[in-house]
């Protein structure tokens, strides 16, 4: 099987380092690393329109572009963005149950807000055949793999090298790759928080000054 494009380079790199790992195992570990990486970095996002209705607190939604809802980054009112920064449309909005946004206060009038959802990988990437079949990899934005292929590779190597009773088991290498992966993941999370802008503003208002229950996102 030829690996699907966003993952081909990553797969080939891992396979060239650990050829004794079965292909299906590499695909499985890439999937779990993608789930972990996307969940921890808030990098895989989707904006969801929220049609706010009076006296309604719960707003179920369905993602359109793959992935599973992992974290509610912000709910903003597109009509009030003036500075380019997101501000919460209201305080206390939450998503304790994935796929359902809950308001803290029942609104008095209809509004159109936008929720920014950070997703975790989990939905299968399908091939282009008829009928489509799962490729063994999860859906994700291709740029994430392109930009962080090094970090993802360290993560997959760590996941493979720590497995017991395998010819490619390597506890020392696993430890080293674990450090590199977690360090790369931290950098990726911060890069994403600053929208990949170099030398961006590193200072924010102390949270004691906040006027709503949460700090803004990015």
């Amino acid at each position: 099987m030829t690996e699907p494009l966003p993952y081909r380079g990553l797969y080939e790199r891992v396979k060239s380092i650990i050829p004794a790992a079965p292909d299906a195992l590499i695909r499985q570990e890439i999937t779990y690393i993608m789930m972990d990486f996307s969940a921890d970095t808030n990098m895989f996002v989707e904006e969801v329109p929220l049609n706010i209705q009076p006296n309604t607190l719960d707003y179920p939604f369905i993602l359109q572009n793959g992935g599973r809802p992992n974290r509610l980054m912000v709910v903003y009112d597109p009509n009030t963005i003036t500075s380019g920064y997101y501000n919460w449309a209201d305080g206390g909005i939450s998503m304790r149950v994935p796929n359902i946004i809950r308001l803290a206060r029942a609104p008095s009038e209809a509004k159109l807000w936008t929720a920014v959802i950070a997703k975790a990988c989990g939905t299968p990437l399908m091939d282009t055949g008829t009928p489509p079949k799962p490729t063994g990899y999860p859906e994700v934005d291709a740029w994430i793999i392109d930009k962080y292929v090094d970090t993802l590779c360290y993560g997959v190597l760590w996941a493979l090298q720590r497995l017991p009773a395998k010819p490619f088991r390597d506890p020392v290498g696993a430890k080293e790759n674990d450090l590199l992966y977690n360090s790369g993941k931290s950098n990726a999370r911060v890069n994403n928080m600053w929208a990949n802008v170099y030398n961006a503003q590193a200072w924010r208002f102390p949270q004691a000054f906040r006027t709503i229950s949460r700090k803004g996102w990015a």
Binding site: A20, P22, D23, A24, L25, A165, K166, D170
Partner: protein, 160 residues
């Protein structure tokens, strides 16, 4: 076995296959046995793997009335047992078959190898080892043991 009928003026690299499928190759000085059968250079189906196992068992001559020393049934049984042993040691190899361990039938040599090609050598080692373990000649024991250890080493032994 029919007489050998080597070509008279061979060129280097020229091959000759005798009546039982043994392939000889002219190296410029002599005919050397290089290949049992040209079809065994790939291992895509059960028949190819059986050929390779027979080569290592030195059981390639079925021209006599008795046929092969080891029957296809017995070797395929060992291949199937090897697959189960492989599953016990390395279940991850069978992830791509959803943990279903494939089993072969001796009457179906065209059955395709269902998992990654890199595991063919391990199965060959196992089948050769197990087949020789069953043999009642004491001289085979060391060789059988070596093949079975090679099977194990291929699957689980770490270089670290």
């Amino acid at each position: 076995m029919a007489e050998m009928d080597f070509p008279l003026s061979p060129t280097v690299g020229q091959r000759y296959t005798n009546s039982i499928g043994v392939v000889y190759e002219w190296n410029g000085y002599a005919w050397v046995v290089g290949f049992y059968d040209s079809s065994t250079q790939t291992f895509l189906v059960l028949g190819d793997i059986l050929d390779q196992i027979r080569t290592l068992l030195q059981d390639t001559d079925n021209s006599s009335s008795a046929g092969y020393r080891y029957s296809d049934d017995s070797i395929v049984m060992n291949i199937n047992m090897g697959l189960w042993e492989m599953y016990r040691l390395r279940p991850d190899i069978f992830l791509e078959t959803s943990y279903v361990v494939p089993q072969f039938l001796a009457g179906d040599p065209s059955a395709t190898w269902p998992i990654e090609q890199q595991w063919v050598p391990a199965i060959v080692y196992y089948a050769v080892g197990m087949t020789q373990v069953r043999d009642d000649e004491g001289t085979q024991d060391t060789r059988a043991s070596a093949f079975l250890q090679k099977f194990n080493a291929t699957l689980v032994v770490s270089n670290q």
